[in-house]
């Protein structure tokens, strides 16, 4: 049972590695953790398009946040 969990974990890790590599190739700008969250969301059947839009929007929001923070400073 433990070994099965282990192999499963290994497989998951390998998959994540592959995905990370692809992500890097595609220049998505996602780190390991964000990627894993995204993968999990996708696995739950979330619309990937919507998710991508959310991520893009979040990035933009944080960027503007940073700018606004920088400006008064």
């Amino acid at each position: 049972m433990a070994s099965a969990t282990n192999t499963n974990l290994n497989a998951v890790r390998e998959t994540m590695d592959v995905l990370l590599e692809i992500s890097r190739l595609l220049n998505t700008g996602l780190d390991m953790e964000s990627l894993s969250i995204c993968v999990r969301l996708c696995e739950q059947g979330i619309n990937p398009e919507a998710l991508s839009a959310v991520i893009k929007e979040l990035r933009k929001a944080s960027e503007t946040l940073k700018v606004s923070e920088n400006c008064p400073n």
């Binding site: 894993s36 619309n47 839009a53 933009k60 944080s62």
Partner: protein
Amino acid sequence: MASLDQKSPNVLLQSLCCRITGKSEAEVAHQFQYAVRVIGSNYAPTIERDEFLVSEKIKKEMLRQRREADAALFSELHRKLQTQGILKHRWSVLYLLLSLSEDPRKPSGRVGNYGALFAQALPRDAHSTPFYCTRPQSLALGYGERSAALSGSVGTSGISSLGVYTLNGPTPTPQSLLAGQPPQSAAAGTQSLGSRLAWTLPISSSPSTIMAPPTTRPSLCPQVPTTRAVRPHRDGDPASEVSEAALVRDILFVFQGIDGKFVKMNAQDNCYKIDNKVVVCKSLRDISSRLAELGWLHNKVRKYTDARTLDRAFGLVGQSFCASLHQELKEYYRLLSVLHSQLQVEDEQGVNMCTESSLTLRRLLVWMYDPKVRLKTLAALVDFCQGRKGGELASAVHAYGKTGDPQMRALVQHILSLVSHPILNFLYRWIYDGELEDTYHEFFVASDPNVKTDRLWHDKYSLRKSMIPSFITMDQARKVLLIGKSINFLHQVCHDRTPPGKITPASKPADTPKDAAELLSDLEGAFQEKIDAAYFDTSKYLLDVLNRNYLLLEHLQAMRRYLLLGQGDFIRHLMDLLKPELARPATTLYQHNLTGILETAVRATNAQFDNAEILKRLDVRLLEVSPGDTGWDVFSLDYHVDGPIATVFTRECMGHYLRVFNFLWRAKRMEYTLTDIWKGQMCNAKLLKTMPELSGVLHQCHILASEMVHFIHQMQYYITFEVLECLWDELWNKLQQAQDLDHIIAAHDVFLDTIISRCLLDNNSRSLLNQLRAIFDQIIEFQNAQDSLYRSALEELALRLQFEEKKQQREEEGEWGVTAEQEAAEKRRIQEFQETIPKMQSELRILTHFYQSIVQQFLVLLMTSPDESLRFLSFRLDFNEHYRAREPRLRASLGTTRGRRVSNI
């Protein structure tokens, strides 16, 4: 990780927000709200759930960025991912990565673009946020369920988005490609295709309505076409289901009668069918077999035209029928080529298969409906016209034009106009030029080349009943026959060289099938008028020529005057002159002698003022001599006819005329004989007064003679006034009203036939004629008997006078008037003479008796005759009921008529 997997999407989403913005949970609450709304809303559902396509797209994107090495690396990684099989939604992850990917060469503007997108999307979906907030697990719903939920929740307001969804959602079309093709261009393509197909479609159905069924269709079963359309592109596995596109391609071949890859001619069932081994959806199989019927119909029509085009004996009408079929097939081929080019365009566009303008079997079914109806009509025509040619074929086509379907009627009318064009051409050539250019015997007028010109009118031309097109009535056909016949008659028999154009102001013949069509549409009007005009003009011209140049009416009158004994003075004189000749045995008669007598008779009577042309034709003819005949039996007048008038006075007619002449001549001779008898009686009455012993015999003679005279007078009256004059008047009226030569011939034939039957010369009244002949014979016999009686009486009278004279002479000389010896001789002679008187008396009595019995028989026959005029004759013959008193049979029949008459009064 396993624990993470249990987390709800919202938790994950929150951590994602923290992770990306790099802030704490509280700080990102606002962003989180947005994220939940976006995810929960149905924002951009237009994505393909196909891993293969997504990966292809990624590769394409990399190639576009000129990163071939990276593309290869990606394929490797993707393959690895596939082998691991941990992820359930690989396509989803890949798609996410693809959407997030950025061109490394232009990293700057990567964020700014999305603001507008977000701002646009949010307000529209704002209302749904609480819904999804309260029930975050609904985010995990599957596609099908969600779309159903959507259509349910959006209701009427979401129709447009629904349309977008249903159109693009299930299709495999990549977003980029679809975006690259502006929607209006697709619509334009559809429209142009629609217009190209428009010839087959009713005007009322605009392209939009044509498109309607296919556009709504995918929403009903969105899954089916996707899998079908895509599979063959991915793997050309023959064992799997055949795609609709392949079937469409096949069907287009089948439309032309060529076997497709899957749809093949099934010889057993005689139809095109999808091979049973091929796996295909039942509805598609059904539709394609319905479409394939077109191929079968096409083959049928094609086979017919192919077989007939080279068959020269099929004739012009058949050829034009084939040509019209070809024309229709050409239109059909044009349609097929349009479909083919459409298919080609689609091929060039690659995967873009199921857009609005693409060809599907259902669409074909709609588009090909009208062509199918047309082809069906053609096939039915071909079936019906099998083995027919010429006018028969035109009739067959015409029969099919009687349909309520305006389109079908137009089609058949068009074919009919083509088919009837050669027939109308024949017709115009015939009625305007009298020429028959019918090599293949297609026209309804037939000509017999073996008939000589003298029988041209009667036998040469005839109607081919089977070839009369059904749109031409029998009456019209007869007129047409008559017109051409008249023209030919004028040319060949009358040697009239008038150009045909002068006879009729010939309207131009139908040069084009269009004219033919116009004529066909107006058969009662213009066509009838044309035929009537040609008929009147030609017939009138012909009658004019016959009357003016060939004296037809004068010849008829001559027949009446000479052969029917109308010219009394001439006949009487001729009989006077001929009497000594004709009393001789027939064998001693010579025609040249008689001809001389005839000429003398003509010169001496009013006949001399007749037209020389007519007198020239008058001749004597001796009938066949049988032993014992006298000249009376064989003599006959003759009238020579030749040229055009021989058409009216045919050989049979002349035969009839001769028979009638013979009868009339015989009756005339009886009259003549009786006149002689009467003359003898008158002359001798005084002379024989001196012989009182003869008075009894003479009285008998007188009685019998007057009986005969009465009979013959009544007979002559009947023949002259009741038969000849009445009929002649009838004939003359008909001749004045006659419109064509046929009318004249018919009237003349009726005239002759009636004369024959009224003169008791036909078969029905043979017994009557025999009685009449017997009566005539009795008259001749009586003449002979009376002649011998008078001869002996006159001889005796002469002898007595001689005796008295001698006696007187002697007395003057002073001698004894008679010696006893002389006296005794005289007495003996007188005694002898007186002894012959009873013999004569008995002879006469027998004759009288015989004659009367024959007359009685004749009267009985007349009474039973069906002809009314003959019954009147019998009444006239027995006016004083002399015979009725003797003949019980007569009494009975006459009594009944009398009784009736009395009761009528």
